[in-house]
Symmetry: C2
Subunit: 840 residues, 2 copies
């Protein structure tokens, strides 16, 4: 949190008994000279021990005039987590987010009342448990206040002070200053001063407090003198100057981020010729961005009228923090898995950096890389995949996949570049997207996104995808017109999402698809002589191409038709009479699971939605399992880039020879970087735990879908849909958003439809009058902007959502709490209603 | 370090006075029951305080039979760094690497004498300074022994214990167990047991030691009873079992890494059809890999004869560690900048992970990203570059560069895809390499590395590069035959490397190049109608294409000829009469500095070698500065992938319009990930400091080149070379390898030539009889293998070098010490002589 007019610091101790309260008293007294009456707040959020010894009373005694408060006092002088147990207090008093909310409210209130400086003193050491048992540095992290670290002046204090700093640092805190008593016996100050200077942290020495006197009165007298002397010392005054400077520099850095960014950054996908509001992200925690609230900033508000959409509505800007929380509803471009600022991921990354840094991977191996290969294959549970290739992101992972598949096909079919035949192409779906490097751009159909690239050349054929939307309480599968006689249309309806996956009851649909595919492939491969080298698909959901939910039966049928009829692809090829069932057949199938895999859609592998019986909890069938699959994004839990391309033996073998030049000659310098591998191992283990441990959050998400895998029928119309499959034996697809919410949304007049699966919810908005849909849709832009300032009542959070044309989507991390997902739904409904009102 | 038959642990304390020695005594006594006589070693590397209170004496008293040693004893009972100062001991006694070497020797000696268990007890807390002032956890990190952490049982001890663990963890230590006294008053054990279980660390409680008795005798009696009781307790025995298990599992994991890797990993650039020795890297520190020494492993040696090239020569394998150190002479595929396992980089990465994790970058900005843009442009000091685009690696960075340049050119020249003209191509040099994604593969000339890729299609024209080699004490510039009349040859000789860069004295060479380039471009663009969209170069050194040192005058002349004569490229284009000097002219120049930039070759930007006067210390000239440049590898200091593509305003402006579809529609999910940006900011600052602070190491490297920018002439032949430029006013190119070493090498009969610049040394070997040079050169493979086992006498390190065809190269990090670079040179000379002897 940051304000222009309030400077607040959190006071952490490198250990218990290092003089936090004494130093705080010195600082309060010194600050008081700079602030108007009641201008300084001392806040002890949690205190333990007898009231008459409480730290806030010490402040009141020695720094009268300072507003001194304690939010929770527990009676036993032990660690707060024990004290809370002993006092057996109300759970609300110990809840982390309640404590944080209380502090926020208190600070904002004090600012209105004229407070200009605040010190928040923690209890014990920085990692002493708070009342709930969370480590204090984690408990207070959402505030991320600039920190004053009180060093340990005793023997061994160099070690505890530096370790304490490291624990704060890896949790994303900024330490503004180190203060400690200078005890010449141990020389800690001299050493620490040098050490902290390397981290740009100024160290300040205070004289040791006077020894305890014989009477309380003498004691008080001695302390009063000590405080008087220290709080007027030049050292403390220099420190306060420097803290003020840091505050101003922090404010100025944050508030100038948007304009500076505008002058030097070339943003991805941005048309810099058009004005654009740049969001300045100060930090992030859990599902929440903390962003610069430009229009609540008096300095900005004074000079301009609000246009940026981040105005939280109130006109009294003076008392507002400069930052505001927004729910990260794009899961930071689909990467986020375990919450921002996750200390376990930080530590895991740091451990790998400490053990290896990066080590080159040419003819070499290290433990995190090898573990990751095993962990990924175990996570995917695929009967085909046996080999793992490392690259840096989804796009490079797909480049490798394409290289693998085309080589395997050309080799088997005896195609060469100069044999006079057509070039080898890929077979895919319209609306696909596999990344922005030119090779994989060539694997997507021409569109406004790639045609402007000089070297783009479409190498493939792309089928229109039959697509799924929920509208007015029913799931619709729309068959594309290219599948039909001119002028006709075909839509299939389902009451339950699960019924889409009940392939056995959709035999007629399957036959319809199979006939269409067979005819189309005959025309392409037999009549036109087209040569295909790979079937490339994003299983079930096409992401960047527009959040399209493809009828899983169509993808299933496409795979099986080609695998069962290789002669459709190459009429001349004679398959072996007794092939290995894990051998690729017809075409290698590449599953681009970069977005769809690793539980983004609720399952470890999105290819499992295309199995012959996707509702069965049995492992993925060899008949539909991919020959190559690509994984990235969630792979690292959402902190840094890494991609894996997996392949079957039959693909791998195509590259074996005794000639180096037949090898897959692809590699990046940071291939299999240990930091990425280590966090990926951590992430995969966490996913496994969430999936199988009976984790209560995921149970909460699943149960409304599993209990009755149905959408409550709010409409009165009758339905032609199949009966709902029995819930006890099925592996029901589910969503983090409840069936009830989806039904409500599906009847909203502004939406033409929606879908939700796993952590994703995608809404298609009707075009507003006078505009067309597609990329530049006004309706989505208007809703997107409104969501920024439609605040959740409990958390005060807006929603930062992203749009793709006429689709606006919402995405949770894997650890989003059910109540947060539910609140997101409510805010969304509220915002939609607001849009509707404005239109009416 | 790891042995099969010796289990050694480092004992660290979460604070001082937590009972490290008491716990060690318990463990020593318990271990003694499992080991033969003299089977347990207690080692205190550094001890402070009076001898009669020393910890090793305590062990001798209470665990007789345990071999108890102290390596350095200082008399004052204070932190070792102060104690060493007070005792004013010999510097050798306080030197970190000397202490580490002593421990290694001691452990290996004890193993020979039958020791099976060793405990190394540190002094104070884990980050208490050692004798040199280094933090102990850093001092002992090269050993990376499995660690026993003694927790803090006192009030506040939860915090200090977890922080201590985090400090160990981020330095790459594996903590095997947490031990602490169970003081029910504070309940630390119960809390810590749960917390550490999440990190798979078992916590073990010990009863509090008996209170101090009245007489020393009673005291001793009480302690003896305590030790007897604890060391025979079931808890301790279970712990020892578990520690044994961890040891075996660690050994088994390390020793099976190569074979497991072989079965599941698809390695980059590897022909899996050929047998290949896979190096298992256990960890790395500074410039050193710690790798599994397969042939020193008795379990392996018993079953096979040595073929893997990692046998350190001795036949007495029993007493050898399972790991051996190797100098990382490829700088881990050219990435390494600041040493492996650098705690500052770990902490910096962890801080960004803690503050943000990843946050999406679409229309957003965060502080580390913005800082990085400014820092990079400041580092490059280019008069043209103003905008920064983020991607994930050099290959994707170059894809973006190509997209940028081709668009700018097509727009200015009015070329479109369907105007009937030739496709837009790039102009480059043969031997270039820009990455493995298909788009940038297309920007390199056809070769065995790309032709097998189905979608590869060469889009360009590539000139043969005039190249430089040092041979027999003289620098040769060989002009390619394609520049000459058939049958003729042309070589220019120079006494000093600096003279190559003295362009003013090479006017005739420049004219020769200019005439050739002009004629060639006329033929291509005017006669053949070829359309070029970019001039693409790796300034001065072409890396992956074969470590080719291109005559800088040729690249300089190529740039200036095109810029000064845009009509050579497009005869129809009328340039504005008064162009902005920073506007691109003729063709946009893309500098691929992924390998060559950021001080890899001794300068912040390798483009500065192509300036009109590269020996002048003035900033880069606008006349030769690139319009687009790409940076990666060293950018993050060598720990994880990140790439930046910078561009001039005139390139940026080509994408401005009011239509989104004209934007540069490129982006990756982890674009500008804060972790990468933060470590890059740290790395750039460190580079700046090394370059400008009068840093003594870099001064040591520069001075022999600057003082006399010449190669001492060991040959007696006279030279036609230019006189050496005066050293006082020049910005002399320099190398981490001394002129003296280069001269020695240049006369070696096995080498046909070599070059060195900055941190890189590249040797071209003569082909051995009966084989041809090129990719499969036997001579380089033989030398490469020998280097693994040619050990440095001081450090016992071999060299892990990489080869490219007939070139073997050596690369330092930016912080390699001059003595290490020198030792590398000596080992190299020794290995070359060994090769020569074998041939004779």
């Amino acid at each position: 949190m940051l304000w222009r007019d309030l400077k607040a610091w959190q006071v952490y101790g490198a250990n218990t008994d290092v003089g936090k309260t004494i130093v705080s008293t010195v600082l309060c007294k010194a600050l008081q000279r700079r602030a108007p009456s009641n201008g300084v707040l001392y806040l002890k959020p949690v205190s333990t021990g007898p009231l008459n010894e409480a730290d806030d009373r010490h402040i009141s005694r020695f720094a009268p005039g300072v507003v001194s408060k304690c939010l929770s006092q527990f009676s036993e002088p032990v660690s707060p987590h024990l004290a809370a147990k002993i006092d057996s207090v109300d759970k609300a008093l110990t809840d982390d987010s309640t404590i944080v909310s209380k502090i926020k409210r208190q600070l904002n209130k004090q600012l209105e009342q004229g407070t200009r400086y605040a010190l928040l003193e923690t209890a014990g050491g920085i990692l002493s448990p708070g009342p709930s048992g969370s480590l204090q540095a984690d408990l207070y992290r959402p505030l991320r206040l600039p920190t004053l670290l009180i060093g340990d002046h005793k023997l061994g204090g160099i070690a505890t002070t530096i370790s304490a700093f490291e624990s704060l640092h890896l949790r994303g805190y900024d330490v503004d200053s180190l203060l400690l008593f200078d005890d010449p016996q141990w020389g800690n100050f001299a050493y620490l001063q040098d050490h902290f200077a390397k981290h740009d942290v100024q160290a300040v020495a205070l004289p040791l407090p006077p020894p305890r006197r014989k009477t309380p009165k003498d004691d008080e007298q001695a302390m009063a003198e000590y405080y008087e002397q220290c709080s007027t010392s030049p050292g403390i005054n220099t420190l306060l100057e420097s803290l003020n400077q840091k505050h101003f520099s922090r404010v100025s850095k944050l508030t100038s981020l948007p304009s500076h960014a505008d002058s030097i950054i070339w943003h991805p996908f941005r048309q810099h010729g058009l004005p654009q509001n740049i969001i300045a992200i100060d930090s992030a925690y859990g599902d929440t961005f903390e962003v610069y609230n430009q229009e609540a900033d008096p300095a900005v508000a004074a000079s301009q009228v609000g246009t940026t959409g981040l105005n939280t509505g109130s006109s009294g800007t003076q008392a507002k923090p400069l930052t505001t929380p927004l729910f990260d509803a794009s899961a930071s471009w689909w990467t986020q898995g375990f919450g921002h600022g996750n200390p376990e991921l930080s530590l895991t990354a740091a451990h790998a950096a400490g053990r290896y840094g990066h080590v080159m991977f040419g003819s070499a191996v290290h433990e995190p890389a090898l573990d990751l290969c095993y962990n990924l294959l175990e996570t995917l549970r695929s009967p085909r995949l046996t080999r793992v290739f490392f690259t840096d992101n989804g796009s490079t992972g797909m480049e490798v996949a394409v290289k693998m598949a085309l080589r395997a096909t050309s080799l088997r079919y005896g195609w060469t570049k100069n044999d006079g035949g057509r070039p080898v192409e890929i077979l895919g779906l319209k609306g696909s997207y596999h990344g922005d490097t030119i090779g994989v751009m060539n694997a997507s159909e021409p569109s406004v996104f790639n045609e402007a690239v000089d070297w783009y050349q479409p190498w493939g054929t792309w089928f229109d995808p039959p697509s799924v939307l929920l509208s007015k309480g029913k799931w619709h599968v729309s068959v594309p017109s290219s599948f039909l006689e001119p002028g006709s249309t075909k839509t299939w309806y389902f009451q339950h999402m699960a019924s889409l996956f009940d392939f056995s009851s959709r035999e007629t649909h399957a036959k319809f698809y199979r006939d269409f595919i067979t005819k189309a492939l005959r025309s392409l491969c037999h009549d036109q002589g087209r040569r295909f080298g790979a079937l490339v698909m994003e299983p079930i959901i096409m992401g960047a191409g527009g959040m399209i939910f493809v009828d899983p039966l169509f993808q299933h049928t496409l795979i099986t038709t080609i695998r069962e009829n290789p002669s459709l692809i190459n009429p001349k090829y004679q398959p072996s009479s007794n092939p290995d069932p894990a051998d690729w057949s017809g075409l290698p199938l590449i599953a681009d699971e970069v977005f769809t895999g690793l539980y983004r859609l609720g399952r470890s592998s999105s290819s499992s939605f295309l199995s012959p019986d996707p509702l069965s909890p049995t492992p993925m069938s060899v008949s539909t399992a991919p020959d190559v699959s690509v994984h990235a994004k969630l792979l690292t839990g959402g902190i840094l880039p890494l991609a894996l391309t997996t392949a079957s033996n039959s693909i791998f073998n195509a590259f074996l020879s005794d000639s180096k030049t037949d090898a897959l000659l692809h590699g990046h310098s940071y291939t299999a970087h240990p930091i990425g591998c280590s966090v990926a191992n951590h992430a995969l283990k966490e996913m496994e735990r969430l999936d199988t441990s009976g984790n209560s959050d995921w149970q909460a998400y699943r149960s409304p879908w599993a209990a009755a895998p149905s959408i409550p029928d709010l409409s009165s119309s009758s339905s032609t849909a199949n009966p709902s499959p029995s819930s006890s034996t099925v592996n029901t697809p589910y969503s983090f958003f409840s069936p009830h919410l989806l039904t409500q949304l599906s009847h909203h007049p502004l939406l033409s439809g929606l879908w939700s699966l796993g952590t994703v919810l995608a809404l298609t908005l009707k075009s507003t009058e006078g505009t067309s849909g597609g990329y530049a849709s006004n309706a989505t832009a208007s809703l997107q902007s409104r969501l920024l300032t439609t605040l959740d009542e409990k958390t005060g959070e807006g929603i930062h959502a992203r749009v793709l044309g006429d689709v606006i989507y919402f995405m949770c991390s894997l650890t989003t709490k059910p109540d947060a997902a539910e609140r997101l739904g409510s805010v969304l409904l509220r915002a939609l209603d607001g849009e509707l009102e404005d239109q009416e």
